[in-house]
């Protein structure tokens, strides 16, 4: 089982041994809301104190829209005691991180873990620097440290009415040994002024003036542009390239061959673990790029090339042939199996039984900013700019390709126009570096077209599951069988195995690694998005067969008495059931749930879940969705409302949580209504937003977000409204008298 928590070294230990260094600035992507303040002093890797007494925070995550630049800044500013208006941000430097033993703790922008993983490290760093500044003030002035207090970018003397600015003190503070974390007193929740406060996003204003600088916006003197055509069949190789057509074209186009190969991995792997079990290897096909003066010229010139591909084995594969292979797999024994009780007897003794098969198609995460990377390379240095969700791995990939030491490589992380998992794979960086290596000292910007982005993505896996259920004479579920097969290397099937509901007799089986014509990639919501709606839909089928209100069935199944006493991690399972039941009850109350009240043609569905990838997985929130729909006499589907209720622990910024859950609903509805990638002859058949549709404003329902009071570390929010919204939607459709949806995208008529 792929565990996403890493065998992390103690962060606290790493900071205690870290020396404070004053360094000269390097320009990184980020949001400079404070205009051109002269940089001054870097302290403890996290903070730069500028000469105008403003501060710049280094954000060890990629901004993909989740507002991580804002929320991590709230954590740092809370303990550092700086005013919110004095804060600007830039992205971390992966070389600094890797050279200092992962000083930023969690840099991969994956698994909705940013706020959770950095909640302590960012606050500790802020507090350490505050203490260093206080000590520096004491040394500088001869005052007693105990008479000093930090506030609004100054160290104040409590009684003398005097103060020293952080900018004055910073050069001295860097020589103070940082206090260890256990010597620090972090603020308690009732002392917070920024945490819990819906402060404006750091990028609020640049976002409305077109001033956010994404990877695609990099512009360097002498820069040339590359457009790319990759082998349309994954794993294919270049057989023949005729470039004679380029000679007459403007923009001085030059063709470049790009070798496919192993790029790296799509998520961090703990030291000493087998990377192929913990993450998915990222590989690319052969490709051809054209480099020209402008991107438009380069793109046009691609059409003048004559390219012959050796399409390899995948040209004989399709999504239909894969579905067949998965079905055959389901007819046989599956490699992973957990069971309880005696399913065959329960099925035999059942008052009623039910069987159903569910499928989930391939999907492309499709961030709106097409993939791009700019690289400037010579024999002794590589500088690369890109939005990547896994910048540490990008740095390793660049170093390996160029043969340079990582100190000679600078990876400048940029804001990304969406990620949704797609930017966890650094294939476009691997390609841009190969191109730039052929043009020493010339910056090259590689930009993919939308067609390349859709057809050469990394895809949510096509998944098929077969269910069997039994009801006893009281209408209780006496047996539950789920057998799921999918086609990826990384283990996504936990969505079926970690169902929080317990049945007296059950069998859950799965298999994976069926040869797929498309490569697997993370997509917002990951395994739960494939499996949760299937589980809830089949559960809803059984509830209806029993003539029961699904909400009552969930309520009953989540009662702690239903957790079998011999369950592994029994205590964790009890806490989990109680938490989910509490969230369920609240969601039902807020929705004024009454199964007897529904009008003709309209329906309601509900789902409740966490995203516990394994027992005790610490960062998942608990949430429920209620979806209201109407099905017209013409079979048209209207989604009237989506309500999300969530307990996500401590909330750093309630408006950010709300925005993430609202956006997740839209993403879920696109998955449910439109997203389907199909393959024929090894090629993806969709090419742009006309045949790979994204939800638009006229289809967006009103969304209600209920954030329940929570404590402890912040829990996941980025992916959390997805799986439950799809699940509640398919059940609402059945409730409205529509068909039982057993495959996505949803088709009503």
């Amino acid at each position: 089982m792929s565990k996403l928590t890493l065998n992390r070294r103690s962060f606290l230990g790493s900071l205690a041994t870290a020396s404070a260094v004053a360094t000269f600035p390097i320009t990184l992507g980020g949001f400079r809301t404070v205009q051109s303040a002269e940089r001054h002093t870097d302290i403890l890797y996290w903070v730069t104190i500028n000469s105008d007494n403003s501060v710049t925070f280094k954000i060890p995550q990629t901004e993909i829209g989740q507002a991580v630049t804002t929320t991590i800044s709230q954590l740092l500013a809370e303990e550092l005691e700086v005013s919110w208006s004095s804060v600007s941000t830039e992205f971390y430097d992966p070389t600094t991180n890797l050279d200092n033993n992962n000083v930023y703790v969690w840099t991969a922008t994956l698994a909705s873990m940013g706020a959770h993983s950095l909640f302590d490290p960012a606050r500790v760093a802020g507090a350490q620097i505050r203490v260093m500044l206080i000590k520096a003030a004491a040394v500088h002035s001869g005052w007693n440290a105990s008479d000093l207090v930090a506030s609004d970018n100054f160290i104040h003397h409590k009684t003398k009415g005097k103060k020293l600015s952080y900018a004055e003190l910073a050069p001295l503070a860097v020589h103070i040994t940082p206090p260890s974390a256990d010597q620090l007193q972090l603020k308690s929740a009732n002392e917070w002024s920024l945490i819990g406060n819906p402060v404006d996003r750091i990028d609020l204003k640049p976002a409305t003036s077109g001033d956010v600088e994404y990877g695609i916006d990099i512009d360097l003197p002498g820069m040339r542009h590359a457009a790319i055509r990759q082998c349309p069949v994954f794993g294919g190789t270049l057989r023949k390239l005729d470039v004679s057509g380029l000679a007459s074209l403007s923009g001085a186009p030059t063709a470049v061959r790009i070798k496919g190969g192993h790029v790296g991995y799509n998520s961090p792997v703990p030291e000493g673990e087998d990377p192929d079990l913990w993450a998915t290897p990222v590989t690319t096909s052969d490709a051809v790029a054209v480099v020209a003066d402008t991107w438009w010229q380069a793109k046009q010139a691609l059409n003048a090339l004559h390219i012959e591909w050796d399409e390899g084995e995948n040209k004989f594969r399709s999504s239909e042939s894969l579905k067949k292979a998965l079905s055959e797999k389901l007819d046989n024994t599956l490699s992973f199996s957990v069971s309880r009780g005696d399913v065959p007897t329960a099925m035999k003794d059942a008052a009623q039984t039910l069987r159903a098969e569910y499928t989930y198609p391939y999907m492309d995460p499709a961030p709106l900013e097409p993939l791009n990377c700019t690289a400037l390379i010579n024999k002794s240095r590589a500088t690369v700019w890109s939005g990547s969700q896994y910048a540490d791995e990008a740095l390793r990939t660049i170093a390996k390709l160029t043969g340079l030491d990582r100190k000679q490589v600078s990876f400048r992380l940029m804001a990304a126009g969406g990620g949704f998992g797609r930017r966890a794979e650094n294939d476009y960086i691997y390609q841009a570096v190969q191109i730039a290596m052929q043009f020493p000292d010339t910056p090259i910007k590689l930009l993919w077209s939308r067609e390349e982005s859709i057809q050469k993505s990394f895809y949510a896996p096509l998944t098929v599951a077969r269910y069997k259920g039994a009801l006893d004479s009281d209408g209780n579920i006496s047996a539950w069988v789920c057998r799921a097969v999918s086609c990826q290397a990384g283990d996504q099937t936990y969505g079926s195995t970690e169902f929080p509901f317990h049945f007296p007799n059950s069998k859950i089986e799965y298999d994976r690694n069926t040869t797929s014509p498309l490569p697997f990639g993370w997509m917002r919501g990951v395994g739960y998005t494939q499996h949760l709606w299937m589980n809830f839909s089949f559960l809803d089928e059984l509830a209806r067969l029993a003539g029961k209100d699904p909400a009552d069935v969930y309520r009953d199944l989540l009662h702690e008495s239903k957790v079998p006493s011999d369950t592994k991690y029994h205590e964790i399972a009890i806490v989990r059931a109680k938490t989910l039941r509490r969230v369920l009850e609240k969601a039902l109350e807020l929705a004024d749930w009454d199964a007897t009240k529904v009008r003709k043609g309209s329906g309601r569905g509900i789902a409740v879940s966490d995203s516990e990838y394994y027992a005790g997985y610490g960062s998942s929130s608990a949430k429920a969705a209620v979806v209201d729909v109407t099905i017209g006499s013409d079979k048209s589907l209207t989604i009237d409302k989506v309500s999300i209720t969530i307990d996500c622990g401590t909330v750093i910024n309630p408006d950010v949580v709300k925005a993430q859950l609202e956006g997740g609903v839209a993403y879920a509805l696109t998955n449910a209504l439109y997203s389907e990638i199909t393959v024929k002859g090894g090629r993806v058949q969709q090419s742009n937003f006309h045949d790979y549709k994204i939800l638009k404003i006229h289809e967006m329902p009103p969304v209600e977000i209920n954030i329940l009071p929570g404590t402890g570390k912040p829990l996941s929010v980025g992916e959390d409204s997805l799986p439950i919204t799809i699940a509640a939607l398919v059940n609402a459709i059945a409730d409205a008298g529509g068909p039982r949806i057993r495959s996505l995208p949803i088709k009503i008529s």
């Binding site: 003036s209 930009l447 956006g663």
Partner: protein, 155 residues
């Protein structure tokens, strides 16, 4: 040579007339606020105004703007304070932000034509894609801007 009035300045440029306006704006004129999303006029990230009309610049040859007025997000206001920009800030619409220049340009064009749009008007005219799904707030921000529209002067 193509002459146009770009963000209230007269300019002349020498480019292939078939080049889509988007690439002239971004790569020749170095105005990066207008975005590339699909290259096929489907997503609206590249929306600019030509003589006040919202146009998908990725699919509009630059020869078509000869002698015309082009406005990009950079020309919408001096200080990022057009009522639509202010409404966007008030509702904290943006997530990744990539589509928002195009969204704002589309919303301004809608409000210029129809200062009090109904939900149906918004649904019909706002056909841009936001992959982050900020649509609830886009609708709210358009309504806020519409309330203020008596106080703003058309571009």
């Amino acid at each position: 040579m193509i002459k146009m009035r770009l963000n209230k300045k007269d300019i002349s440029i020498y480019v292939d007339g078939q080049t889509p306006l988007l690439w002239v704006i971004r790569d020749t004129l170095k105005l990066k606020g207008t975005k590339f999303g699909c290259g096929a006029g489907l997503c609206g990230a590249c929306t600019v105004h030509i003589d006040g009309m919202p146009i998908r610049s990725c699919s509009f040859p630059v020869s078509g703007v000869n002698g015309r007025d082009v406005t990009t997000i950079e020309g919408l206001s001096q200080n990022n304070d057009h009522p639509v920009q202010q409404a966007w800030q008030k509702h904290s619409v943006s997530q990744c932000g990539y589509c928002q220049s195009g969204m704002i340009m589309s919303a301004v064009a809608l409000l210029n034509k129809n200062p009090k749009p109904s939900d149906a008007d918004i649904n019909r005219e706002m056909s841009n894609i936001c992959r982050c799904g900020t649509y609830v707030r886009i609708r709210d921000a358009i309504k806020t801007a519409a309330e203020d529209s008596s106080q703003w002067v058309q571009l």
